[in-house]
């Protein structure tokens, strides 16, 4: 394995809790994408034929689709990317190789030593076993499955064959096709009927070799009347030598069930973050996406909820913060497929130091989806005259008897607000940070406590200009 590929944690440390156990075999994929690469990935993972065929079919779709020209400027050479990095032990990056600025940021964030090293791609030992061990036992008793998707393909073939790639088929878009061809890692979660998990399930506890790859693939099935909150990502800047992150997340929320999926991501400035997320919500079910995006060169991400049966609800909260050299093209999609369904989008974006944030949203009321209600509120805050914010709302309504609301506002940090805070002794830095934190507060208070605190701290660092 070459040294410029991120190394992964020592798997032997965490294998007793059903994590991936293979630690042997060092596989260095060639750069670039071909049937051979895809076959190799499938071989290495020892996958069933259906998955290999799915990958190969996806590759053809990927090759047949043009790179999208809307959204942000994508300047990627697909042949200059490693598509699969087999975890190794021993040969990885060392802490000394990690750039000082990244280390400094970790220090400012107060990230624990072990997590720092993991985040930087340095192999490390983890102390999360203890926490996670008892958690896992508890979950298993309730019949919950919480594993990585590779393991799920082997251990839960019935569920995977029924749902994998069904919510987001590879035909959906070029990057979903790419992910479908080369995916690795990600989480698989199944919550049985009526089971309610009263603490957030965190990807963090599932730190292992493949849980946070470049092309992770997550599938969440919430059975009837069940309830789960899944939290993904972390607020430390994710450091990778690879320039493309393209994940696919599929969620199915059955009748009367509820799922909230929270993401906070802060990518390094060289990353293209092109993610497809979609949920199907059935009768009286609720799906909520809470999505915070910071950093990256370009993020294109529009979490979607399709409301499939009467009474379904979809809610999407999105926060985007873009600074110098960053373009956040973020938004949401709500598709009312059935009558009496309710959707809500709240989007807040902040642009600073020449950063660019766009809200791109689709609200679609399909034929037959009468008595649907939908509201969209998007607010943009621009901190200086070099920065930019755009709004692209698309609304398609095929029914008469519906309620659709759309409000958009763009504001610059008000001179009067600033003056008010300064006149009370706050410095300019403190005042603008306070105004920005206030602006996103309605979303931050939806986050689990520790994420809310980190989010505020991150905003502060962003405002000081010491990150990203």
């Amino acid at each position: 394995m070459s040294t410029d590929a991120p190394a992964k944690p020592e798997l032997g440390e965490i294998n007793k809790y059903n994590f991936r156990t293979e630690t042997t075999g060092v596989f260095k994929a060639e750069k670039g994408l071909s049937r051979d690469t895809v076959n190799q990935i499938s071989d290495i993972k020892n996958e069933p034929d259906w998955m290999r065929e799915f990958r190969l079919r996806s590759l053809e779709i990927f090759e047949s689709k043009p790179t999208p020209t809307w959204g942000g400027a994508i300047d990627l050479d697909f042949q200059d990317i490693y598509y699969y990095l087999k975890p190794t032990s021993g040969q990885g990056r060392t802490w000394e190789d990690v750039p000082q600025e990244i280390k400094d940021t970790f220090d400012k964030l107060g990230i624990p030593e072990a997590e720092k090293k993991f985040l930087a791609g340095v192999k490390a030992q983890f102390e999360s076993e203890v926490v996670y061990g008892s958690l896992e036992e508890d979950l298993a008793k309730k019949g919950v499955i919480f594993t990585d998707t590779d393991t799920a393909v082997r251990e839960h073939p019935e569920l995977l064959r029924e749902y994998f790639g069904k919510i987001i088929p590879p035909e959906d878009n070029k990057f979903a096709a790419l992910n479908s061809a080369v995916w690795s890692g990600g989480s698989f979660i199944y919550i049985p009927k009526g089971v309610s998990i009263d603490f957030p399930l965190q990807a963090y506890f599932r730190i292992n070799a493949e849980s946070m790859g470049q092309f992770e693939r997550t599938l969440i099935l919430v059975d009837e009347g069940a309830n789960v909150h899944y939290v993904e990502g972390c607020t430390a800047p994710m450091y990778s030598t690879e320039s493309l992150h393209s994940a696919v997340v599929e969620v199915v929320v059955k009748r009367n069930a509820r799922c909230r999926y929270t993401t906070i991501q802060n990518w390094a400035n060289n990353i293209y973050n092109l993610v497809t997320k979609r949920a199907y919500a059935y009768g009286d079910a609720t799906m909520e996406w809470v999505d915070g995006n910071l950093g990256s060169k370009l993020t294109m991400k529009y979490p979607a909820v399709h409301m499939m049966e009467p009474g379904a609800r979809g809610e999407i909260l999105s926060i985007a913060f873009s600074s110098a050299g960053q373009h956040q093209d973020a938004g949401a999609k709500l598709v009312h497929e059935a009558p009496h369904t309710t959707g809500q989008i709240v989007s807040k974006s902040i642009s600073k130091n020449g950063g660019r944030s766009s809200y791109r949203g689709l609200v679609s009321v399909m034929p037959g989806a009468h008595h649907s209600k939908n509201s969209v509120v998007c607010d943009a805050l621009i901190l200086d005259s070099e920065s930019r914010s755009d709004t692209y709302p698309y609304i398609e309504v095929a029914e008469q008897d519906v309620q659709i609301g759309h409000e958009a506002s763009v504001s610059r940090i008000g001179e009067e607000q600033m003056f008010y805070l300064l006149s009370r002794g706050l410095t300019e830095q403190e005042a603008s940070t306070m105004i920005v934190n206030g602006f996103i507060e309605p979303l931050v208070k939806e986050l689990p406590m520790e994420y809310a605190i980190e989010m505020n701290r991150l905003i502060q660092l962003q405002m000081e200009g010491s990150v990203g």
């Binding site: 001179e415 003056f419 300064l422 002794g425 403190e430 206030g438 507060e441």
Partner: protein, 274 residues
Amino acid sequence: MTHVLKIENLHVSVGDKPILRGVNLTINHGETHALMGPNGSGKSTLGLAVMGHPGYEITEGTITLDGEDVLAMAPDERARAGIFMAFQRPMAIPGVKMADFLRHATTNVRRPDRKEGEELIPMREFRKELKEKMEHLRMDSEFARRYVNDGFSGGEMKRAEILQLAMLQPKFAILDETDSGLDADAVRLASESIADIGHQKMGLLIITHHDKLLEHNPPEFTHVMLGGRLVETGGPELAEELHRHGYDRIRKAYPDAAAANEEMLGEETEEALA
């Protein structure tokens, strides 16, 4: 040493429009001054210029605090130097809780040398003090968790300004119509609170049209502003006269200032109509 806030020959413009045309005013620590005058005469402008609002350009004159050049200070430095203004129209800061805002403000004003990012006043200590002060002002404790001035009634905003006065304990405070929009009971409470917090403990400049706010804060001096100048200064009896009889006598006595006032107001109306 007694603290002194000294304003000399102050000229202030907004855009190209001259508003204050040579204001002289000296306030000693412990004194209470009333500032009266018809609408548009420049009372708020004086306060905002002292506080350092960027929209108000000082074209001539000086402001000093104990001999230090106030005009050289940024607004936050003025606050930390001990100058405070309760605004006629306070700004809403959505999403920012009163308590968080006040904790920052109080820390910075009490510890003027604090560097950004250094510790704030310990939470416990701060909460205790805030709670006491709020009880004193008969404010619901829930107030601390609300967003700064966001959705406040007129009365709530004014009380929030008084709470800030109580927490920040400035050397000099300008209170700009802290009685407007309040009912009689609320004005009495405000008058008592201000007396309690500031009378003879700070230098107070109370801008008002009425005499109620002055009830518990009898001014040693009353100043009348007209057309951007202080045209007359007297004792408490002047405040009473103006409250009773209005500004007709003043307008007649100072026709030039009255004309300047009309002119400014005229432009204001044109702006409003435009």
